[in-house]
């Protein structure tokens, strides 16, 4: 690539942050964002001109986040809130702890693995289904189906959680 890297950070910074936050919490997500762009900056001059920059960045970000989750799983250190650092959650706690948002995050976290990844990458990461399919494997159509199933499940589970909450009041 021969264009200024600054444009890449401006254009894709928000998407990469969404992906990092979908996989890690708080400071860890911020660190993953920085690590992603630092290693992208290193590799930028050698990236082929026809590469899909967004998919490339999301791949780096996912790898960074997975490395961090694996590292944490290996060195299980006692922390105040183990929910923040478990090696399994693909979705992190919402920044603003509104009860409803937390319910949504929990509902997303409860989805089957493939649906969860597709929902996170497409609806949170903003990636088109073609790119999502390239990342999770399978066809565009399969990714689209997993996304639709995931959202349908969310409508049910999240809707139920909200209703429960309102009933409890």
């Amino acid at each position: 690539m021969t264009g200024p890297f600054e444009d890449v950070v401006r254009v894709h910074g928000p998407t990469v942050l969404r992906v990092c936050r979908a996989m890690l919490a708080g400071r860890d997500a911020d660190d993953a964002w920085s690590e992603t762009f630092l290693s992208a900056l290193r590799a930028w001059p050698e990236l082929p001109a026809d590469a899909n920059v967004e998919a490339w960045l999301v791949t780096i970000a996912r790898r960074r986040c997975l490395d961090e989750l694996r590292r944490r799983a290996r060195h299980a250190v006692p922390v105040e809130d183990p929910a923040l650092t478990t090696g399994t959650a693909l979705v992190a706690r919402a920044d603003e702890p509104g009860a409803r948002d937390l319910d949504l995050w929990r509902a997303v976290a409860a989805l089957p693995a493939k649906q969860r990844r597709v929902v996170v990458l497409h609806h949170l990461g903003g990636l088109p289904y073609t790119d999502v399919a390239a990342l999770v494997g399978g066809t565009d159509a399969a990714a689209r189906r997993a996304g639709a199933d995931g959202v349908a499940t969310l409508r049910r589970t999240y809707g139920a959680a909200v209703t429960d909450e309102e009933d409890a009041r």
């Binding site: 264009g3 200024p4 890297f5």
Partner: protein, 210 residues
């Protein structure tokens, strides 16, 4: 001179977070030797200026009328695409530009990196500081000073292609009839700079030499 606001991504819920992350990224890139080019866009009496520097010195000063995007693309293509906005590297040159526009500085001390220029053009722009602050020289005089009196037109081209105007003062090179002539930053900018230098030099002369 103030730093122009960074273009925050619109409609993004945590634009502030992204700005902080960006600043941190620039710092880490500099620490890891990955910040090949740092740039900033600042306001000045001759319009907004893009100032870009590599590790060896200032690579580019570009006026708004020249197109900041085009200047960045050229630097990215010819120097390195590892280009980021911000960082401490530009503090010294921006301070010197501030002092210059305030009439408190006559020569620039920050190193320049002229790798965007080669051959005779490079020779010409390097000779520009020989024209004293507050004075002017004709294109013919500069051509003669570089030992090629017939190369008047080439001197004009070299001045037009000067990658670091202001720091290397191509604005002091004028037509033989004394009219200012063309300028990469626009005719008005050239007139502003010459007037600024004359005024500052005159005031300085009236108050006695420092």
């Amino acid at each position: 001179m103030t730093t122009a606001p960074q273009a925050a991504p619109a409609a993004e819920p945590d634009g502030r977070t992204l700005a902080l992350l960006h600043a941190d990224l620039v710092e880490r890139a500099a620490r890891d030797g990955l910040l090949d080019v740092a740039y900033r866009v600042v306001d000045s009496p001759v319009g907004s200026l893009l100032v870009a520097a590599g590790e060896r010195g200032v690579l580019r000063v570009a006026f708004d009328v020249q197109g900041h995007d085009a200047a960045l693309q050229e630097i990215a293509a010819r120097v390195s695409p590892r280009v980021l906005a911000g960082g401490r590297r530009l503090d010294p040159v921006l301070r010197e530009l501030d002092e210059y526009f305030a009439g408190r500085r006559r020569t620039f001390d920050v190193p320049v990196d002229l790798r965007l220029l080669t051959g005779f053009r490079r020779e010409v722009v390097l000779s520009l500081p020989d024209v004293p602050y507050g004075a002017t020289a004709s294109y013919a005089q500069v051509a003669a000073a570089t030992g090629r009196p017939a190369a008047v037109r080439a001197v004009g081209t070299a001045c037009a292609r000067n990658p670091v105007p202001l720091l290397l003062p191509c604005h002091r090179v004028v037509r033989s009839d004394g009219t200012p002539g063309r300028y990469a930053g626009g005719d008005a900018a050239k007139a502003t700079l010459l007037a600024l230098e004359r005024a500052a030099a005159g005031l300085d002369g009236g108050a006695g030499r420092a």
